[in-house]
Subunit: 270 residues, 4 copies
């Protein structure tokens, strides 16, 4: 289904510097991007980069002088979300899994799966199928971690969240990823626009590799899975920051929206 | 200069499983690999994979039955090490740095540069050139961290080492990487064979991105820089494990060697 | 010198519960407390407890019903601060130190001195006298840690602060204590009222055991040492909370003041 | 019942220094100590100290010269263990609990109860009685944490163990304490001699404050509760080290034993 996504970001540059933004909807076989507009005010020389997995679309802005910066991104995106039945899908053996997928089994900055091995296997090790394991992980996080705005910061990791049991979408995603990897299920971080998310903001959830494809899960259950527009994937939030800032450029405000561009949306949850 | 590198690894498989090894010398413009031999006993179906950055050469072994496994790797490798003077090299601006290099600025599992920002800048922020900063980082680690076999484990990270000040080559490398990234200098983990390393073992050090190339640093100072044969690079040790094991396959023994295959080696240190 | 100290605290009880407050000025040979008033509105049955080291004066309030609670504490306190010259004082050997002092050598919740041993000894190990070591610790914290309101929370510990290098008075104190203990100098947490502290608030600093007495240090340098009125000491902030709350009783507001009750105050800093 | 307990410790002093040992059986109303012998070879001037809670019996040895040190402690101790039924005991309200008990509600070095609040309440919050909560905590640790010699070190804390789920008796005790405190049940660390513990060693478990008395729990279930001889209690292992060493005095060997001095021992477990 088609959505109109939009992000308005404002910064105040105190010096020159570099701003690398990751707000563009990803172009992929399953996701078509139309009518895209990206405007900066004042005009700033920019360059599109493809990063991490060669898919994420970064915009690098070379800020040459101090002053306010307004950035506006708009696009119509069709996410072509297809609901499938994964219950009976065979999980590929590590012996045959694609080499590009292997790094998503390794621990990363915010997803210390190496420390969660016993816990993950105690909680979910006896569940038969990989898909059912990830469903159980998702439900367990949803039932045990309290969504609380401001309760965590950019240093918070899955190792913290598994015990402290509070966080925001980023923390829910990191914990999901860490638990999956500890179960030998490749998992990666997903950022995007999310329809019906309240309050409107960028959203984070995670994808697990089930039966040779990446399947979307959202432990927050705050937005329907078929209302997600993918911006980027990566090992964790370190790979997929909305903005990487070099120099003294301060973030001042942000507005994000995701509206249906077609009618008759029927929300799909896990 | 040419070296004869060799690794003999032994495992005991209790069940079937998968073993992904990363012991092959990397093939790269600066490093030529000759006369390579890789033998398993018994014969095990294997496959070469190219991972992480498309360069690291992984061997995936599909272990079909229990029993002992002997693995033997031998090669002649010319590392073509060239000593250069980096002191006056201009560090590229983030505005022009290659997109493939950007991820090496982000924090990773064992290199939480996001937490070391103030510390790195207090210690090294006033040094002018990027190269001199990395030299100072390397010397500071060497002077402050005690090399102590067995003092750390696979969960130890740069955030631990910066305060606990003890570790092995892996920890020295992680701390070097984390400090570089905190100074906005891209840095990555390097594993390899090392000539004159005592006791003989795989070695770990790090590369910093200086003036558009990756330059090798070794904060342990335990082996000459021109005696290193690269196996792999990655964000940190999570990317470059000698062995990733899936299933109950136990490591039993290892022998690593790196001998000069030419005469007249003149060691180069920082 | 005499000061008029005052604390006004407000809570909203949602249920019954227990509130244990630690706002009373400590009575000690060096500190005389006059004209003390403690009032709750509405009246709540309370009891004075002596805790941790038998000196801290806790007030336990048994809240029997929901509703707003106003607490007011006022006193005139003479801290009898005496500036001494500790430079040439002999530090007592551990062989002769008082048994009551030993626990202040052990690591505690927020002061993991066991992890800072090498670092403390690298930084301060070559300084001769214990007093000069603590002075150096205090100055090092002041020079390297950035005072930043809101940058830390109640879980932040010295192990975090030594690397992250940001925090509030509580964090400065914890780091000072941890470094002293790592140098085998007993150290404890100090909470109190502080004259000329801006903005007015409870303050935290630390005491080190030098030549058989507890000597006050303040790594924040935000208030004069002779303007401190002691409320409590303990191993760290875990022992000396202003309020321990049991039940759903929410903190709503606080006003703290410390005014000179005599003239001619001459501030003393380290 | 009576037990013959014994500890033989050997050290090698490289320099002079101080050794503070905590191996003496505690004298308490419930525990009678007979025929006690404490011998050092060579003779070293020693002093008995009472620490932490005024009960633990420390021996401070002033080591005046380098050389080997042999320490031998022997005693007959009657632990007078009485099995009681705590199921229907009323837990005292915080409003009436003894002030000396309050510190055992606070977080400590190895028992970061402040971080385990939500987790403890999710797992055990709905159990009615305090005693049943501690029983559930004990069983949960026993079922989820793997006893694995050498898997942890002296820096490992409850916050690590709750996720990593491996450790030794010390770690089991710390986690039990942290979970109890997070449930507002005072809890403290217990070290002692343990009958039938294999291999023979000092043991650690924990006491929870139930109905105005300290009740012993052992999440390892490695030794019967009525076979424990108490050496010390404290907030955690930081308070109750077998040996605190100041100066270069190296531990070389240890033998611990606990034998029945009466017949007809009937083991009691939880």
């Amino acid at each position: 289904m088609k959505f109109h996504v939009s992000a308005q970001l404002e910064y105040e540059a105190k010096t020159d510097g570099v701003l690398i933004l990751n707000v563009h909807a990803l172009r992929a076989p399953q996701q078509a991007v139309f009518d895209e507009q990206f405007v900066t005010e004042p005009y700033i020389r920019s360059e599109e980069l493809f990063a991490v997995n060669g898919e994420n679309r970064l915009i690098r802005l070379e800020v040459m002088q101090p002053g306010p910066i307004k950035i506006s991104y708009n696009a119509i995106v069709d996410n072509n979300y297809a609901q499938k039945d994964y219950k009976d899908i065979n999980q590929p053996s590590i012996a045959h899994i694609d080499a590009q997928v292997l790094p998503y089994l390794y621990p990363s900055r915010y997803c210390q799966s190496d420390k969660l091995f016993r816990l993950a296997n105690h909680l979910f090790g006896e569940i038969d199928s990989a898909y059912e394991q990830v469903v159980a992980v998702t439900n367990w996080i949803h039932d045990n971690v309290e969504y609380q705005s401001g309760s965590t910061d950019t240093h918070t990791s899955a190792f913290d969240t598994v015990t402290e049991q509070t966080g925001v979408c980023r923390d829910f995603a990191h914990l999901g990823i860490a638990l999956c990897r500890a179960l030998t299920i490749p998992a990666r971080y997903f950022t995007g626009y999310a329809y019906q998310l309240k309050p409107a903001d960028f959203h984070a959830c995670f994808e697990a590799y089930i039966g040779n494809e990446w399947v979307l899960f959202d432990a927050t259950k705050l937005a329907p899975l078929n209302g997600m527009i993918k911006i980027a994937t990566g090992r964790d939030a370190a790979d997929t920051s909305t903005a990487n800032i070099f120099g003294e450029i301060n973030f001042t405000s942000m507005q994000v929206s995701c509206m249906a561009a077609e009618q008759n949306f029927i929300p799909v949850y896990l």
